[in-house]
Symmetry: C2
Subunit: 263 residues, 2 copies
DNA sequence: CAACGTTACTTTATGGCGTAAGGAGATGCA
DNA sequence: TGCATCTCCTTACGCCATAAAGTAACGTTG
């Protein structure tokens, strides 16, 4: 597994993302493709086959070209992933009704991000260490910042809070995306998988209940597994757990606000 | 990037992890290696070169063998990763002093996990969808459950809380691990990287300040970058941000406890 | 002790990957 | 009409996991 980050000329990808491309007419055959077309095709491949299935050959095939022909338009695969990332980031809303209040806005924001990552699970594989510096990435940061500033807290605290919410949403999305991928790749549902493993566990560790009593207690009162796997995540039984965790975080933010007011 | 999950005979890996191996003497040459030796070598490779650098060739080379010779001991690379994962999970503490209280214990637990993931960054790439079902994985779950049960909250709420804390710790570790990997791979520090990008950003998006005012506000009062990169993360300036986020979560847990008491 | 079956380990091969290198053919301009 | 420049192709290299088959070492059995 590789986490991609463009390592070509940084100037090139930034010009593409910010729309500073010059398309002066030049000799030679007319371009049959374009960077935009390639980004679209690549996103299509990654959405279906994941980051692991995203190969230059696959993208080329989707466009009726060879893998190598893409290098006429894009310097490296890493740069292409950067462009894909900023492209889909544009799907995120950039405005939340102020009358929702910060609590309602953060909730909607978290749900929108969750759905976004489930629609494009490969985005969870893009390294966050060195940002892409594209317009949509900054727009997303600007939106989140705007919501959080409504709490009246100071920037250093807000950065901590943004980290908590972001890590939580991405983590939840990752877990769900991994579960879906596992189910599709193996053709075995989570429920069937557990049904096949638990007898093995009993056989291999007969003293299980004595060794891990707390782990067993933690499993009490589990909700029913999702009825229809095609139903959107946010309407499924598992979304309850997501909402509960988010509620804890929101309460934490509120407590922080009260502390700031008091202190 | 591929997220590994063993897909060989599940029985085999479980027998190895739970120590149910039979080593009856059989004809043929004496085994020069063992599953344990291979796991150790593989962990060594992954700790240094990451999941991307973990190849059967690399592990074999470390043991003075070819890649193929490993398949005498291990059915697939995926199974090997499963074993590696449960192996290193054994490094996590399984006991926290009750006198620390749930708040102190959760804090220590989070710090231990953070350090663990920074010591073995490749563990962040192991899919959490279908657990390995090894003894150390269950021990870790048991420990976390034990701490959280001190809050007196019911299991469904505790699962939500565990998710929040786990996602937060893993997310923070991932961000830090990605930053370190990027610095090492490119030979450019985060600071130098920003110094080279920001002029480009100004050039390509002169209206930046007008378009993303909230994003800029969010950057105010940034702490100084880490002085010595070799210093342990928890003693660095960035750890402040980690502690702040954790504090918000802990306050959220406390608010949840109060609500439960009241309701 | 010789033969045999089992095992450890090797070499070779298959089909994937990103991408370097070089060549063929199309096109706009001098 | 060249010629420079461009698109797109084929080929090739060095990686990857692992299937297949061969060699040699060893315990057991006749």
């Amino acid at each position: 597994m590789v986490i991609y980050a463009g390592q070509g000329d940084p100037r090139w990808s930034m010009d593409v993302m910010w729309g500073n491309r010059v398309s002066n007419l030049r000799p030679g055959p007319k371009p049959g493709l374009s960077v935009e077309l390639i980004i679209d095709a690549a996103v299509g491949v990654a959405d279906i086959d994941g980051m692991a299935g995203l190969s230059m050959r696959a993208v080329g095939e989707k466009l009726g070209r060879t893998a190598m022909s893409l290098y006429t338009y894009v310097p490296t695969k890493g740069d292409l992933v950067d462009l894909m990332y900023d492209r889909v980031l544009g799907e995120l809303p950039t405005h939340y009704e102020p009358r929702l209040g910060w609590r309602g806005s953060v909730t909607s924001w978290a749900e929108d991000h969750l759905e976004f990552h489930l629609r494009h699970p490969w985005t969870l594989q893009v390294s966050q260490a060195r940002p892409v510096l594209g317009p949509n990435e900054f727009a997303a940061l600007d939106t989140a910042s705007g919501i959080l500033h409504e709490t009246g807290l100071r920037p250093p605290v807000l950065r901590g809070i943004l980290g908590v919410v972001l890590h939580y949403v991405r983590g939840a999305a990752r877990t769900e995306a991994e579960a879906r991928a596992a189910a599709e790749e193996t053709g075995v549902s989570d429920e069937d998988w557990w049904h096949s493993r638990s007898p093995l566990l009993v056989e291999v560790a007969p003293d299980f209940a004595d060794r891990f009593p707390m782990a067993i207690r933690m499993e009490q009162d589990k909700p029913a597994p999702p009825e229809d796997p095609k139903k959107p995540y946010l309407e499924s039984a598992m979304a309850e757990s997501f909402a509960m965790g988010l509620e804890v975080i929101l309460d934490g933010i509120e407590a922080t606000m009260e502390k700031a007011k008091a202190g």
